[in-house]
Amino acid sequence: MTTTAEIVSRCEAIFEDLDFTAARAWKDAVPGRKVVGFLPLYAPLELIHAAGCLPLGLFGGGDKLEVIHGDAFYQSYICRIPRSTVELGMTKRLDFVDGMIFPFVCDVIRNLSGMWKIMFPNVWTKFFDTPQNFDPEIGGSYYVAELQEMRDGLETLTGRKVSDDDLRRSIALYNENRRLVRQLYTFRARQPWKAPTSEVYLLMRAGLMIDVAEHNALLVRYMAAAEKEDRPKRDNVRVAIYGSFCEQPPLNLIKSIEMAGCYVVEDDYILVNRFLTEDVALDIDPLEALATAYIAHSVETSCKYVPREGEKGKFHVDQIRKAGAEGVIYATPSFCDPALLDRPMICKKLTEEGIPHISFKYAENSGQMQPVREQAGTFADSIKLWS
């Protein structure tokens, strides 16, 4: 694979495959291998990897999955991702998944963890509560013990010990992954015409469904190919997307924003591999290292409490400045408490900072792209006009 097109088409195939053929093949390749699924927003994949399992990112069913059973589980005023996740489970598409991690993001996914225990009693199901206290002595030590509990759970699931050295090896691979992802985001921010977001997005999604080492290699190859390719630079405005961290918009929506004249130079789509902003230390106890990274070096996002009022939204503003975005599209799933409760606070901060912004809602199965294109197009025009 030498061209971006080839790499992206491979990623798209993985992303679109709701039978998870690649993950099944990984599991079948060696007897005894286990697959552990995880939902948004953040789980320490290093632990799953160190236990010899494949962490499999599950971000809903997108716009290709027909949801039949899932709708019977949820009222109309609840977002789409839990119903399509239930659908994936009930249609046996996840029958090869041995464990499921439901990280804390909101009450919907929290409650889904309990539903999973009832529906799939043979699957190891773990709700994973990250601390909201960011004092290393308080939240940090709680978190270390939670990580240890997860490690114990994984050991029981796999029947093998997860040593500190196993963990360090995995941390090193994920550090590499985060470094490459940051590099790609920087590359896109510098030359967005060379790395369109629809492509970067597919690379990220596929990356959470294959082994991390393979993803690292793909990232390297993609950046090398993208650098070499000559693609036309358009007169687009540069925007950041926020609010899209959990239920994902359909790929068409991501493309529509670009087609409407926006280069997306910063986003919070599937934050997992960008959740930690710095390397996890390799020279201390690995659980301590993971906890410290979470406490001291993780993004601001809606599932985390911001202890100081003045800091609220600061992370976003810094990211926007760093990426050179000229405006923000706050795009949230309908009925998404975290994104929608945060929206007034983040948007207020943007207004104070003089950063133009618009907002709209979507669902993972939204079909109509025209309104999005029009809204994003008008937004782009207004930025061009006034800047």
Partner: protein, 427 residues
């Protein structure tokens, strides 16, 4: 529409609540400090140690709902950028602030001196206080209570909460109040709590009688009032629950049902229900009447457990003052995982000999609502008793469709009848 006819204990409570609102709104005259905090996981005993008055925003939203003010507040909040999709308690609160922040006693709410963010069982709490903090610019003390994802608490969770109490909450409250923490004062309050809790449990469990002397949902929301709000840990709460117990005992002795919204005793109890989920407040009386008119009494409910699951045995324990606060916070109903909630509801159906489970699903509230359809199916499967599902909202009148709710209830009662006939035939 006329008001609900009040039992003596309701009047007593009304007077207590009025006194608390007076204490809040007169803070500038008295110099007392005021905190805002949430019902589930509230640390009232701790606040008492610092002479801090407790203001509960959910209760204000309920008050505004019952007084038909919340609808406009919610729309105002939506106009100012708050999403139509999020919890209407938050919007009712924010809308009330925009409209002058007037307390039910007609006086303006003062700014709180501290936002005590006891973060138990509901995601929205965290954002609600982040939003209020922008407005009030006062200290915010966060107590993170982990969720019981595996159906039980762990030592790590408990230690984490105790550490936060010791190192964040207590020093924070000392600073706000200027009063040094006295653990003996806390112990005394906790002893008071346990006494009141004993009587509350006795009252809630009286729903096992036939006829039931209480309605554990529409009456239940009054019964939990003092203990879930600003009075747990006070002699006032002990006195209230003593009075309530005496009142209920008198009804048991005379085989009387609870008082209906129009003041008669509800003795013709044809259906015994367990209800899951909060009630609707904007049409509370009308909603209640739909049940009592059909002869349906609620014998147990989950909503009366959001501020603590005392009926499962928990009591505040003066011998372990900080640990008991941790256990209390961990054990509130919505902090328990779904399988546990199913167990609790199925147990209620059996123990209270109920005809079935009714779920009032609240549009606003993912904490309660996400997963309720499955809960209903599970409880039906386990108990063999029919379930039913209605949808309303807490304080947004736009989501209360009287005709729909009534229809659903009527068909549900028919279903129960059919089930009874079927069972009778089979026997």
């Amino acid at each position: 529409m006329s008001e609900i006819v009040k039992e003596p204990s309701m009047l007593l409570q009304k007077e207590m609540i009025a006194r608390n609102y007076e204490a809040i709104t007169s803070k500038h005259e008295t110099g007392r400090k005021v905190s805002s905090t949430f019902v589930p996981g509230n640390l009232n005993e701790l606040l008492l140690c610092f002479d801090i008055v407790n203001n509960l925003p959910e209760i204000n939203a309920i008050q505004n709902g019952m007084r038909k003010l919340s609808g406009n507040y919610i729309m105002d909040a939506e106009k100012s950028g708050h999403s139509e999709d999020v919890c209407t308690y938050v919007k009712a609160d924010i809308g009330m602030m925009g409209a002058g922040n007037i307390a039910p006693n007609g006086k303006p709410f003062p700014k709180p001196d501290v936002l005590l963010l006891s973060y138990t069982g509901c995601y929205t709490f965290m954002k609600w206080f982040e939003l209020l903090r922008e407005e009030y610019k006062c200290p915010t003390l966060m107590l993170h209570v982990p969720y019981e994802g595996d159906g039980h608490s762990t030592k790590n969770m408990r230690d984490y909460i105790v550490k936060q109490l010791k190192e964040v909450i207590i020093p924070g409250l000392e600073q706000v109040s200027g009063i040094k923490f006295d653990i003996d004062r806390l112990r005394e309050a906790l002893r008071n709590s346990a006494k009141a809790e004993d009587n509350l449990v006795w009252v809630l469990e009286s729903g096992k009688h036939k006829p039931s002397p209480i309605d554990a949902y529409f009456g239940g929301v009054y019964y939990i009032g003092p203990i879930f709000t600003a009075f747990r840990g006070t002699p006032d709460a002990i006195a209230y629950y003593d009075a309530l117990r005496t009142e209920v005992q008198a009804r048991i002795d005379t085989r009387q049902g609870p008082i209906t919204p129009d003041g008669s005793n509800f003795n013709d109890q044809r259906y015994r229900l367990v209800v899951e989920g909060p009630p609707n407040w904007t049409h509370f009386r009308e909603f209640w009447k739909m049940f009592s008119d059909e002869g349906a009494v609620v014998v147990a409910s989950s909503y009366t457990k959001v501020g603590g699951m005392y009926d499962l045995g928990f009591r505040h324990d003066a011998d372990n003052p900080l640990e008991t606060l941790a256990d209390y916070c961990l054990g509130c109903y919505t902090n328990r995982n779904l399988p546990t909630r199913v167990d609790i509801l199925a147990k209620y159906i059996e123990e209270y000999e109920a005809d079935g489970l009714l779920i009032n699903s609240i549009k606003s509230c993912n904490s309660f609502s996400a997963g309720q359809l499955m809960m209903m199916n599970e409880v039906e499967r386990r108990t063999g008793k029919p379930g039913a599902f209605i949808e309303t909202d807490l304080v947004d009148p736009r989501y209360f469709s009287a005709a729909n709710v009534k229809n659903r209830l009527e068909s549900y009662f028919q279903m129960i009848e059919q089930k009874r006939l079927g069972t009778a035939k089979a026997a």
